[in-house]
Structures are given as structure tokens and as C-alpha cells.
Amino acid sequence: MGEAVLGVRDLHTHFSTYRGVLRAVDGVSFELKRGETLALVGESGCGKSVTALSIMGLVRRPGRIVRGEVLFGGEDLLRKSQSEMRRVRGGRIGMVFQDPLSTLNPTFSVETQIVESLRIHGVAKGKEARERSIELLEAMGIPAARERMGAYPHELSGGMRQRVMIAIAVSCEPELLIADEPTTALDVTLQAQIMDLLAEIKEERGLSIALITHDLGIVSQFSDRAAVMYAGQVVEQGAVAELLEEPLHPYTQGLLRCVPRLGRADVALTPIEGSVPDMAALPPGCRFAPRCPKAWDRCRDELPEMREVKDDRFVRCHMYGEEESPMDEPEVV
């Protein structure tokens, strides 16, 4: 632990639309250390998936990475050419998507799709690729892997498909796996299995995982650190145990109050008032200020900076880390 595999710094990804510029990712920074699982948590539309696509260089028009750095293996991925990025994608960074039925090509068998990824990256071909594919499927816990090789995506169950997707994602021995809501499309019973599988291959293969999810249960069980996103920004970041035990940002606090606890009928669920801001017309101050129960004038006028309040604990909120009162701060013109 300690060394960063992936460093995202001040990433801005904007979408030009008829309504104006949507700042889907607006200054996201985080670090993913070797061997750890970092959860990117947030509601739908908070920019989690766009962050993942930006890291992979897969943002399509009208989306555009405006600025920032994605440091991976000592290089800025945003400066790489398309052909260099093709070697990184699927090769050094694997990706698992939400819905395995739509991410597997419906017209090809499982075999064709795994062998294809091995072939693209020149890992193996022909008979060897076939044997490796069977091994991979077996390692993903797919029974009767040899017979399943000829199956088409629609012939497999949801859990099976996701196992196949993971097999494809790790087929070329990546260092980093980006899993974008890998269990959202699955039954609850399967979710645990797939998450166990991810944890297992992470150990076996020495992977680091960026886990994108909105499920705080998954965050608490399967990740080491978490970055909470709201309206295109990371608002809080830290070790999971600490972050869930003692959330600092009012948004994180609000999120946790929305999660039902088993056996705790006495704790009422409290929704966060209001709704996510319009990404084309963001408030000038803190993004969360309009919904924040603790907001004061400064929150509405000035966007808070990300501050490290303790070791490896970051929060973007005016309530923390400033000893001096707002009045004493030198005026920036």
C-alpha cells in the first residue's frame, strides 16, 4: 500500500448541449493506491460514470475533457494518442460495465468475445487463446466452462454474463480494474457472489479496483477507501470505516440517513430535501448549499476547496479546517 496506481487530478469533463455546457465532471481529484479498492459513490448523474469514461479516454462527443490529469504508471493518459490508449484499454486497465447483457455483443459466442480481447492485445491466439479462455472462465467460477464457450450472451443467466464480462476484463492481466456499477443489474443474491469474485481476483491477481457504485452496503463491505461525489465533484474522501462511521460532509451525512438499517426500526429514514442541481446552471457557491441544512451565506457564494482535515481524510466544505473566521480571510480580487 502507499504507492498510487491511478491519480486523477482536477479532471473537468464537459458536455456541450443546446442548453449550454453541462459540467458533468468539474474538478474531480482522487488517488487509487496499489492493491486497494476505491469506491466512487454518488447518486445517478453525479458524474461517477463520466469520470470512469474519462479515465479510459472513452468520452464521446458532445463530451470533452477540458482539463486535468489522469496519472497511470507515471504517465498522463490524457496526453496519450488514440493508438496508445487502445493498448492501455483492455490491456493495462480492464473495465466492467453495469449491464452485462448489453455490453456483450449479442451476435458473438462467449468464446469469440474472450479470444478477441486476447487477440487484440497480442496475448494469445488460436488454440492457446481458446485454452486460456476456458481457464479464465473456470477461474471466474463458471461451471462447465468448456461447454459454455459456444454459448451466446442471451443463453446465459445474468450472473454468468457478468462473470464472462469480468473474465474478458481481466483476460490481459490488467493492473487496474474499473468496475462501473458491476452489480446494479443483478439480483441481490448474485450481487454478493459477484462482489466476492471481484475481491477474490483482486487478491489473486494483485489488482487495484476503482468501484463505481451508489450502494453504500457494497461500499462498506468491499472497499478500502471511498470518494463521495456530488454534482460533478468529489465532496469527501477517506478510509471507508472512518467515512461511514463519522461522515464529515453534510451530503455524506444525508446519504447515510437514507440507508435503512436491518433491525433498527427505531431509526427513521430521512430523505435529503430538494433535488440535484441542474448541471447546466450550477449554483455559484457550494453545489450542495441549496439542499444543505447547515449552509450559511458563504456556502451560497463561494465554492469550498477540497481540504485535508486529517491524514488521508479530505472534505469539500466550509465547516471544516479553517481556524480563522471567514471575515479575516484576505479578499481575493
Binding site: L53, M56, L58, R61, S83, M85, R86, R87, V88, R89, G90, G91, G94, M95, F97, Q98, D99, S102, T103, L104, N105, P106, T107, F108, S109, E116, S117, I120, H121, G141, P143, A144, E147, R148, G150, A151, Y152, H154, E155, L156, S157, G159, M160, M165, I168, T189, L190, Q193, D196, L197, E200
Partner: protein, 299 residues
């Protein structure tokens, strides 16, 4: 490794894995019959020189407007009778199949490759190419085909190359529109993003990921277009501006028999039935092919 019981069940359906599209196609009775009819016409055309009892243009002065064998006055010498110049109708219908099928295949392949190719590029990349191409296509759609065909054939006289160009002139537009629309949808599909996430190149994505998925509608369209082209060729030949007169063609034969339709109905009707049968068979076969090509239909 954890394993759910539900996943064991899923195995059973996979145990009887993919029999392949050929078996599925063979299980479709209508498609099989249609395929046999198409093959019969194809064989008839290809083997016409060996099978036909007479040369198609050979005139029998003593046997003009002989009725087919099942009618009074008909016989086994000319099974389907003769036309106004004493030419054997069976031989001419056999030779006529060559022109219809050949033109149909050539024109459809040409328009498929051109139209689908341009459509895929326009749909995938969009931008100025798409804008320009789509306006060209709109313009062509507003252009009356028959007038254009009449003009080009009148200018060049009946010859096969001009006929192919006249038939293909607008034909690619349909393939362009289908390919462009489907690529537009497919390029946003998750499996395309996933393939890009695996490091696939753009040509690979277009040819290996997207094309197989948009192929079924293109194939269905190709068969429909084949039928349309056969009819269009027959219509132009009927008007005397299609296939050169020395080559026997069904459209020309219908036109030749038109004057005698009251006294010798078979001269115009039999080639007309040949057109109908071939077009119908091509259409029905195309539908069977579409079902067989859809992996979701495989059981």
C-alpha cells in the same frame, strides 16, 4: 468459489447449444420451399444452354402461337407453346432467368456495398460527411427513378452496363439510410463502449462489432431490393428500354405477347408468372434468412 443453484439450471439450456443458422433455416418450411424455388430458377438460368430444348431466338415458321401442352392444340414438342415468331417459350423463359437473376444480384451487391459502406461511415462519424451525404440522399429520394432511367436508357440505347447504372442510381439510398440509422443506434450501444474499453480500433469496431449486428436488416432489405430490381428491370424491358432485344428477358416477352393476349394468353402470361414466382420466392426466402440470422431466434 461460490455458485448458485440457479446457475446450474442455466447450464441445461446451454447443454443443447447453438445448432447454427443453417439448421434453423432448414426448419422453416416456407423458407425451404422458397429457397428451392430460387435455386430452381438459378439452376434453370445457369444450365439454360444445356436444358433448353431450343435456341431462345430460333424461329419455327410452321409453329407460330402454339398452345402449351395442356391446352387444345398444344403438344410435347413445345411444352409451354411458342410466341408470335414461333420461338419456344420454355427455352426463352429459361434464358430469361439468367438476365433477371444476374442483373438482380449485380445491382443489389453494388448498391449494398456502396450504400451500406457510406451509411456506416456517415452514421459512425457524423459531422460534415454525414451532413453532405444525407442531403445528397434526400435529393435522390425526391428524384423520380423512372424518368431518370428513361433518360439514361434513351441516351445510351438499351445496353446492360447502362441498365445496371440506371437501376443502381437510386438503389443504394435505401441501404445508406438503413445502415446509417442502425449504426447511429449501435455506436451508442454498451457493447461498442465495451469493445472500445478493450482497446479495439475504429475499423475493427465498425466491421467486427457493429456490422454483424446491423447485417440482418440489410440482408432483408437486400432481398426486398432484389425483388424490386427484378421488377424494375422487367418494367424497363417491357417499355423497350431495358435489356437489349436480342437477349431474351421476361419483361420483353410480356411486351411481345401483349398484342396477342386475347388469342394466345400464354405468350404474355407465362413469363409474367415466372416474374411473380421468382420475386415471391426471393422475398419469402429473405424473411426466413432474417429469422435464421437473428441469434435470439436460435433455440
Amino acid at each position: 468459489m461460490s455458485q448458485a443453484a440457479s446457475e446450474e439450471e442455466a447450464l441445461e439450456s446451454v447443454a443443447a447449444t447453438t445448432p447454427g443458422m443453417v439448421r434453423l433455416l432448414l426448419g422453416n418450411r416456407v423458407a425451404v420451399v422458397a429457397g428451392v424455388v430460387v435455386l430452381a430458377f438459378l439452376a434453370m438460368g445457369l444450365l439454360a444452354p444445356a436444358l433448353a430444348p431450343y435456341e431462345p431466338s430460333e424461329q419455327h415458321a410452321e409453329a407460330i402461337r402454339v398452345a402449351p401442352f395442356w391446352q387444345a392444340g398444344g403438344g410435347t414438342r413445345f411444352l409451354l407453346g411458342t410466341d408470335g415468331l414461333g420461338r419456344d417459350l420454355l427455352s426463352r423463359i429459361m434464358y430469361g432467368a439468367r438476365v433477371s437473376i444476374l442483373l438482380g444480384v449485380v445491382v443489389v451487391l453494388l448498391t449494398l456495398v456502396v450504400g451500406a459502406g457510406l451509411g456506416m461511415v456517415a452514421g459512425y462519424f457524423g459531422g460534415w460527411f454525414d451532413a453532405v451525404m444525407s442531403r445528397v440522399v434526400d435529393t435522390l429520394l425526391a428524384f423520380p427513378f423512372l424518368i431518370f432511367a428513361l433518360a439514361i436508357m434513351a441516351a445510351t440505347g438499351p445496353n446492360l452496363v447502362a441498365l445496371v447504372l440506371a437501376l443502381a442510381f437510386k438503389g443504394w439510398v435505401d441501404f445508406y439510410r438503413v445502415a446509417r440509422g442502425d449504426v447511429l443506434a449501435a455506436r451508442e450501444a454498451d457493447y461498442v463502449t465495451a469493445a472500445r474499453g478493450l482497446g479495439a480500433s475504429t475499423p475493427h469496431i465498425l466491421m467486427s462489432e457493429i456490422l454483424p449486428n446491423i447485417l440482418p436488416p440489410l440482408i432483408v432489405l437486400a432481398t426486398l431490393r432484389m425483388a424490386t430490381i427484378i421488377i424494375a428491370e422487367a418494367s424497363l424491358s417491357f417499355l423497350g428500354i431495358g435489356v437489349p432485344p436480342r437477349i431474351p428477358a421476361w419483361g420483353t416477352m410480356v411486351a411481345d405477347g401483349r398484342a396477342d393476349v386475347a388469342s394466345a394468353w400464354w405468350i404474355a402470361t407465362l413469363p409474367g408468372i415466372a416474374i411473380l414466382l421468382l420475386v415471391l420466392a426471393v422475398n419469402l426466402f429473405g424473411e426466413g434468412l432474417r429469422d435464421a440470422l437473428d441469434p435470439r431466434m436460435r433455440k
